[in-house]
Symmetry: C2
Subunit: 389 residues, 2 copies
């Protein structure tokens, strides 16, 4: 080959989930594997009206190059939104990104050297592992329970560049950190001088009660916070944001500029036009209601069908159940049998930086109707009983 | 500071141009400094109609997550477009990127190790220097004349990961490589085993005759080719593409996925909807005509006003004149005097990887009317005569 690749290229890999999804994209299959929000929640009418207004009122600005920081009014909106959940940030600290995946890439670019220790939860979000990998970190998993990372577990992360944490309805585990755990975690991180990167794509999707205030509200100098419009509006617009302590902002901005100059101006103006007058206050509750019903359906189906020895959390928000099969069962080996029966899931091993638990799997409840959830879980239970127990 | 930054962060810098533009953003100033296309060329009506159709006919797909490779029909379109300029590529080799700036970032990520030699033209595109910088290359400038890089100059690039070249109406110099130079350059690169990264944002903006076929059409295994919709449609949608030899495609795709999952689905469908039926065949000629008139105005103004000892090319396409002031004049020192008189330009030193020529500057002719171009150049000449000669 003519081209010599960079060493880091060896650390990049095709997404295992992507590969799995390819196999499972059989027509008619009940896929509980995806990580997509339900397209039924996309506010198409509002988007259409907003697109028309933006292209009528400010077409030249919406279609022209723009500032790398992002569209001013949208940055202001984000600062206001975060104030509502207890974070005091200035709009100047908000960097609009091309989805929050780009936020993870920029964080990696600015903070990770080859060989740097980076601590992650166990399990953790696969997209973050992919974003960090090209920067060649040495990943360390922090021990977790149903409440998130154990504060005493942070000791293995001593000297790490940061701990990457998803306190709200984590992908994949669905868990949400309690108030007490957040306080203890931040206290321990502060004591260790361990900065945090807090990822919060699902925080608004709570079913009963809003989650406790973000980690960032507890340690303003030590937390980089990532947010997203993908789950409350639509992911296809690729719109997220990073909020950083002021000393980090210039480097993140330079990294952003080098990465894609700026996030599409049209998309930023479009989203701002949709949300500026409080649209999310009426829209997000409709998503919550829909997802809650689907969560309930999946819970009922799991209780009805799963054989003894299986365990699962009941997520109080977000999009995912996390299932532990009986010890010794390998979810990866179970998958083809499940697909044969007509349903798909994602084996949990993909979500671990190290020491994967082969008997875990992730189930999404948001893109499939309650009836199909019931059928899908019945198929999963059947496949499990016939092939693995 | 709590956060320890990666070593590469020291290589990232604020864009000098950005800083200059801030200073020159005085109301009423005649700015020939920008690198923006003229918003008068944005096909607003066509965008509005297309946005309506996309949100009517495929809202769920346009607003949902999508494949990292890009929207299939758009990739097909790109492959067809390139065939028209003599490149034989399959749609599977086309990766849609968030502007071609992202293409540069992905190329850097996949091909540059810390300390790798990377060859660039002299001068070269500043955005590429910024995109490559975080990967810590050792940059080598290849000697150039009005026709582009000198084939014999490539010897200094021996062992480099690639030569980054802009054959068509280069930003900043405006120059276009002749047919003979392209042939000689590729021949020499082949002999040296030096891969090429060919950036072509301006190729469609020719004024009299289309430029010769791309370098990529002459060495299909050794050239990564970057294209963009920013200059022929609108940059605010951030839509570009990378076309790579097949062995490189998987790693570029993985890098893309890690960087932002995918380019906004809505933007890809919107642009495809605008261009699918041959829109560019009637639209691009209107841009050419407009820019040609502005090029002519600037040429006439330069001839009329500039004192002896100044030299410039006459670009046969693109957006820029490149001006050499008399030896000993420093364009950076001239800038405040020019701004005081009411006009702005970009000092040329910013565009060199090494050995900057302080007596050079870049002038954009596309965002300012012929009358204002005449006034701006008169001010520049005046500032030069009174302060630097």
């Amino acid at each position: 080959m003519t081209f010599q690749q960079a060493r880091r290229a060896a650390r990049m890999n095709p997404s295992i989930i992507r590969e799995i999804l390819k196999v499972t994209e059989r027509p008619g299959i009940i896929s509980l594997a995806g990580g997509l929000p339900s397209p039924d929640t996309f506010p198409v009418e509002a988007m259409r009206d907003a697109a028309e207004r933006v292209l009528r009122d400010s077409p030249r600005e919406a279609l022209q190059y723009a500032a790398s920081e992002g569209y001013g009014p949208l940055r202001e909106w984000v600062a206001g939104h975060l104030a509502g959940q207890g974070q005091r940030v200035e709009a100047s600290q908000v960097l609009i990104t091309t989805g929050s995946q780009q936020g993870l890439d920029l964080v990696g670019k600015v903070l990770i050297d080859a060989g740097s220790r980076v601590a992650v939860e166990s399990p953790t979000y696969l997209g973050a592992l992919q974003a960090f990998a090209p920067y060649e970190p040495e990943l360390v998993s922090v021990a977790c329970d149903d409440d998130g990372p154990l504060p005493e577990g942070l000791d293995v992360a001593r000297g790490a560049r940061f701990l990457y944490a998803l306190p709200n309805f984590q992908n994949p585990s669905g868990r949400c950190m309690s108030e007490a755990r957040r306080a203890a975690l931040v206290e321990r991180a502060l004591a260790l001088g361990l900065p945090l990167v807090e990822d919060n794509p699902y925080g608004d999707l709570w079913f009963d009660v809003a989650p406790p205030a973000p980690l960032a509200s507890r340690w303003s100098d030590g937390v980089v916070y990532l947010g997203s419009f993908s789950k409350v509006l639509a992911p296809g617009l690729r719109l997220g944001y990073v909020v950083a302590p002021k000393p980090l902002c210039p480097k993140l901005l330079q990294a952003k500029q080098a990465a894609d100059l700026h996030t599409p101006s049209f998309n930023q103006r479009l989203v701002h036009e949709v949300i500026r007058d409080g649209f999310l206050q009426t829209h997000v509750p409709t998503i919550r209601q829909r997802y809650r019903a689907q969560r309930d359906a999946m819970r009922a189906a799991l209780e009805r069908h799963m054989p003894p020895g299986c365990h699962w959390n009941v997520p109080s928000g977000g999009m995912f159940f996390w299932l532990e099969l009986p010890e010794g069962v390998d979810a990866m080996q179970l998958l083809p049998h499940a697909v044969e029966r007509g349903m798909a899931f994602v084996p949990g091993a993909a979500f671990y930086a190290d020491h994967p638990k082969p008997n875990t799997l992730r189930l999404s409840f948001v893109t499939v109707s309650p009836e199909r959830i019931e059928q899908g879980i019945a198929m999963l239970a059947q496949a499990l009983k016939e092939n693995a127990l």
